[in-house]
Symmetry: C2
Subunit: 328 residues, 2 copies
């Protein structure tokens, strides 16, 4: 068991967090959130989503948000897009690090419900997506599998099925001239547990030892960080998260089900294990508390309530407290 | 790595959850909560706390609560007491399974703040506590260490210091004629992480292989279930929890910091890993949602929002859905 020395935490709050909010969030507040997150030194911040305002009215101001935030050197500012129109809008901002990712959903039922396409149709569509990205000069390097662990409509997802899908996607990417160096496994509906993480991550590592694995875990049933632990123990060093746990799960049984793992809880865990993230936890906790004010309702983050252990340690040291038992 | 085949989940919600609530909860509601929890088949429910109403007004109705609930065969109904007066009140109810536990706090500073005694004074007091319990015919079988992983006032707690304290307590118990078969390690202020759990549990298992270990984990910084995972992997099979995550942390940096790990989240995790708990998860989720109504504010439980995966699996099966990739 060897943890990675350093991991990358991708901050998705501004995108994943905002899209689920029913109340319109002012554009200036979205920009303020991104700018505050920039101070925390994330390697990547996902800023917004270029989707039809008909489907996601909250994201109608994507261009204004992108125009408004300040880029900080050292952070990649990315976005989500669904189709060629979205890609073109993202590229047209001239300000984003548009990532070329190919996406497939492991559950046929969820694929149809969420993207209106079967898995077969999505595979076929991938060729056109590659061409579209290439026509916009966006380098393609990622494959993502949604619902990679389970699905509210189908139940458990067979990890061997996921591996076959990745294999097909890798072939399509290769045929299209794309060089994939990152495989994302997304637990879109919160079905993973530490055992299923070990199983799927193990299969993917065995088959694609050269590719980096990214885990996108939802905390819908409270296992987000337990799942991260299982992955860290296997050397996975690339994780998505959202400040304060912004973002919910529209597919869950009840409203206000938790969404992404809270970034500051992940950063705190890594700090305690001696794994570097490069993220400023003190500042991030402040931003998490601001995020709660911005959306106007409680968010599931815990370290933002419990407090940073390093702050307590510092306080104890400054007070000259001798730890109990140390004189023995 | 071998999980235990079965674990015991001790439900603390009625006691640990209620004592922190500022608004008085009607006695009838406290009784209703215990009766609902009885339907879930826990091996133990901690019902109330016999403390001075001056210190904890919420617990002034301890006797009425105990008189009111219905005992279910197969469940132990326990309570907390601080001193001889509390023990006597608990025994006098004639209805409780009063457990004889000896308690020590690993942090000198916290010990003084929380119990108004130094560690040395607590050790000395333990002899009198043994005599008091024996005079009431309460069998003594447990030693508990509070703040066993860290302390908001002192920082990290040295696991070797904890082992020395347990050793002293074991000797005092033995001298007093008590037979200790359970050692509880309590992360009272949410300082543990999976590595520190492995370290302390490993030391205790090595030194006391005959004694069972109980873990009382707080989820103050979101690591409750990740810590449970680390312990399960070491064979620990005895855990405390509170329905819906009832109970907070009065020592945390901010109000509404999470307290105990939510029972239903723990039961769900175990179910997914194939570990038996004997607890009825469906019913427990309903009770968790009722608990939220009883206290009148959101509680941190997640499965109560995300929904029970087995219910989704059943629904998919009933709908005759063929899992994706299964036909390959």
């Amino acid at each position: 068991m060897a943890y990675p020395r350093k991991i990358a935490v991708h901050e998705l709050g501004p995108r994943e967090g905002m899209q689920i909010e029913k109340t319109p969030i002012p554009t200036s507040e979205k920009i303020r959130l991104i700018d505050m997150l920039s101070e925390c030194n994330f390697p990547e911040i996902e800023t917004t989503s270029f989707v039809s305002p008909k489907w996601v009215p909250q994201m109608a101001d994507a261009e204004q948000v992108v125009a408004g935030f300040k880029r900080r050197p050292g952070t990649l500012y990315t976005c989500i897009y669904l189709n060629k129109e979205g890609m073109a809008r993202a590229v047209a901002t001239g300000k984003l690090d548009v990532a070329g990712n190919l996406s497939i959903t492991a559950s046929e039922t969820f694929s149809k419900k969420n993207t209106n396409r079967t898995i077969e149709e999505s595979l076929a569509e991938t060729e056109r997506r590659i061409e579209a990205l290439q026509s916009l000069n966006v380098p393609i390097n990622q494959i993502g599998v949604m619902a990679a662990f389970g699905c509210n409509y189908e139940g458990n997802v067979d990890p061997h099925h996921v591996v076959r899908l990745i294999d097909q996607m890798m072939q399509i990417a290769k045929d299209g001239g794309a060089n994939i160096d990152l495989i994302q496994l997304a637990d879109t509906m919160g079905w993973a547990n530490p055992d299923s993480v070990r199983r799927l991550v193990g299969l993917v590592q065995d088959k694609w030892p050269e590719q980096k694995i990214n885990l996108h875990m939802h905390d819908t049933r409270g296992l987000g960080l337990a799942n991260v632990m299982a992955a860290l123990e296997m050397g996975v060093d690339d994780f998505d998260a959202a400040v304060a746990g912004l973002g919910g799960c529209p597919y869950a049984g009840f409203k206000d089900a938790p969404g992404n793992i809270p970034s500051e809880d992940l950063v705190h865990l890594c700090g305690e294990l001696g794994i570097e993230t490069g993220v400023d936890l003190e500042r991030l906790i402040e931003v998490a508390r601001e995020a709660e004010k911005i959306v106007g309702h409680p968010l599931p983050g815990k370290v933002m309530r419990g407090g940073n252990l390093n702050a307590y340690r510092r306080k104890a040291k400054e007070a000259g407290i001798v730890p109990s038992g140390s004189a023995v």
